[in-house]
């Protein structure tokens, strides 16, 4: 199994989840999980300094979406030749909107504000490190998953 592109932000396996951090004082949930290392809860009315790791909901609603038809600058690891990709911001039941690329094989035509999406983990465009992505649900689109997307 390949390693995640960034350690500790999501789990892999058949039902991957994003990993949040919850303040043990005020119960505010944060993603990405960088708050414990920072050491202080960002809720203005809370002085909590202890956090526990919690899996975030796997499904949410599309807040918005777009695509990248021009190659982003470094440090984006772009394949040569560049392949455009779609991006979605998905609002989870925890109330957090999280950006991610859209699963390979899907584009903006498969997305709609308010539609459901589910977390998946796929290899990055270059190399075999894994990254979280959003899979549109109920778009009626049948993706042709390459072997590289099959883990």
């Amino acid at each position: 199994m390949s390693a995640p592109a960034i350690e500790g932000w999501f789990t892999t396996g058949p039902d991957p989840t994003l990993t949040g951090e919850r303040c043990t004082t005020c119960a505010t949930v944060y993603f990405p999980p960088t708050i414990a290392a920072a050491g202080y809860c960002r809720h203005p009315a809370c002085e909590g300094e202890e956090f526990e790791r919690v899996p975030l909901s796997r499904r949410g609603r599309v807040w918005s979406y777009t695509d990248a038809q021009y190659q982003p600058p470094p440090p984006y690891p772009a394949p040569d030749p560049f392949e455009p990709f779609a991006i979605a911001a998905v609002e989870l039941p925890e109330g957090i909107v999280v950006l991610g690329q859209v699963a390979r094989g899907y584009g903006v035509d498969d997305l709609r504000v308010g539609a459901e999406a589910e977390l998946v983990v796929e290899p990055e465009a270059v190399g075999d490190a894994l990254v979280w992505k959003w899979l549109p649900l109920g778009s009626g689109h049948v993706t042709e998953l390459g072997e590289e997307a099959d883990q």
Binding site: I6, P73, I96
Partner: protein
């Protein structure tokens, strides 16, 4: 007495024409500064505070822009400061100057912002920085600035029925506004068809929906009311608010350069970040959106201009397209937006652009915006947003 009553006078404004001129940011800044001083009729020796807008692309001198401009103009012993707040840099610099004047600590402040900007996407600094959100958004998602603007644009389409033609109409309007502006980089009419025929950068935004990067400079001379009186500047424009408020937790609208929002906790904050920038400005100025005659807002993308109209309370949420379609945001309409031509005609020169908005409103309120004048304008508001909770709105009153 409120800050609005005390006021600070905008004695002079100046710019270097925007474009790709191949000169250093110092030359651009000094040009704009000298023009602003000349416009004010204030001698350099009277300036007792210099505030520079920092540029991150020009090394050490750019990081200490205040002293760089002060030295270039000739050391005169003035107090000095340098501000950095991404796209809100110029407004933060103004805020520093205005606050010192209101506190009675200085009388004449020169605020300068100037930059050179490479072509293409704005990108993070080089090096591996796995704990830097601005680096991570590129590395993990490939999330460019236009991709954020496109997310906002797409929401307008899916929620409010906006169309790519609407977005293109903003460009058409602003390109017309900028035709006669001598400081604008692009002075050419653009049609809806031109916009729609340009390449898609991030769906639904085309190349011509997104502002270019540019070189540019702008400068503002602020003086105390007392100094203005003593020097016969009584009829000058007054800066009655500078809002630089942060978001209020939880910030639930996806904000550049972050990968996520705060958790809403089941309740939406009373105001979004951009709304709160305007609300604070109106409160400080003792005015409301109904008093505004003209607005200069950050049209980093065409669609973003529509968002700002609603954030500033110039119309209700979801109604910006109908105002645009009715021609109400054009010069001659009910509430002209970006009469300068906006970033659509200028392009981005980060530390200069919030100052450029103030320059334009000053010309508008004085009735000097030749070829693009909003008739009888007495109250103007600017708005912009930088990274990491920086943003600003400035209110000018004649």
């Amino acid at each position: 007495m409120s800050p609005a009553d005390r006021g600070v006078a905008v004695a002079g404004v100046g710019m270097h024409p925007w474009g790709k001129w191949g000169r250093s940011f110092v030359q651009y800044g000094v040009h704009a500064a000298r023009q602003a001083l000349g416009d004010a009729g204030v001698p350099w020796s009277d300036v007792d505070l210099v505030v520079g807008g920092e540029t991150v692309r020009n090394g050490y001198a750019g990081y200490v822009a205040g002293s760089t401009f002060a030295q270039a103009l000739g050391w005169n012993g003035a107090r000095i400061a340098t501000s950095y707040a991404a796209c809100a840099t110029g407004a933060q610099a103004l805020d520093t100057a205005r606050a010192r004047i209101l506190a009675g600590l200085c009388e004449v402040a020169l605020v300068v912002g100037a930059d050179t900007t490479p072509k293409g996407f704005l990108a993070p600094n080089a090096g591996e920085r796995w704990d830097d959100p601005d680096w991570l958004r590129f590395r993990l998602v490939g999330m460019t600035n236009p991709a954020y603007f496109a997310m906002y644009a797409r929401r307008r389409m899916d929620l409010h029925g906006a169309t790519p033609e609407d977005f293109a109409q903003v460009k058409v309007k602003n390109s017309r506004h900028g035709l006669a502006n001598p400081n604008a980089r692009y002075r050419k009419e653009v049609s809806v068809a031109d916009v729609l025929a340009s390449a898609v950068v991030s769906d639904p935004l085309h190349l011509l929906d997104i502002c270019a990067t540019s070189d540019g400079a702008a400068a503002v001379v602020l003086v105390s009311e007392d100094y203005a009186r003593r020097h016969g500047l009584g009829e000058s424009v007054r800066m009655s608010a500078v809002s630089t408020v942060t978001p209020t937790f939880p910030n639930t609208v996806l904000d550049m350069p972050l990968l996520s929002t705060d958790a809403s906790g089941g309740t939406e904050p009373e105001h979004t970040f951009k709304e709160s920038l305007a609300t604070a400005a109106y409160e400080e100025a003792g005015l409301g959106p109904e008093d505004v005659d003209v607005a200069e807002v950050y049209d980093l993308s065409t669609a973003l201009e529509l968002d700002w109209m609603e954030d500033l309370g110039l119309c209700a949420r979801g109604e910006a397209e109908s105002l645009l379609r009715a021609g109400e945001t054009t010069i001659g309409g009910r509430i002209p937006v970006n009469p300068s031509g906006g970033l659509a005609c200028f392009g981005e020169a980060v530390p200069a652009q919030a100052l450029a908005q103030v320059c334009e409103l000053t010309w508008q309120l004085r009735g000097q915006a030749e070829g693009r004048q909003v008739a009888g304008a007495r109250v103007g508001i600017t708005a912009n947003q930088g990274l990491f909770g920086h943003g600003s709105a400035v209110v000018l009153v004649r």
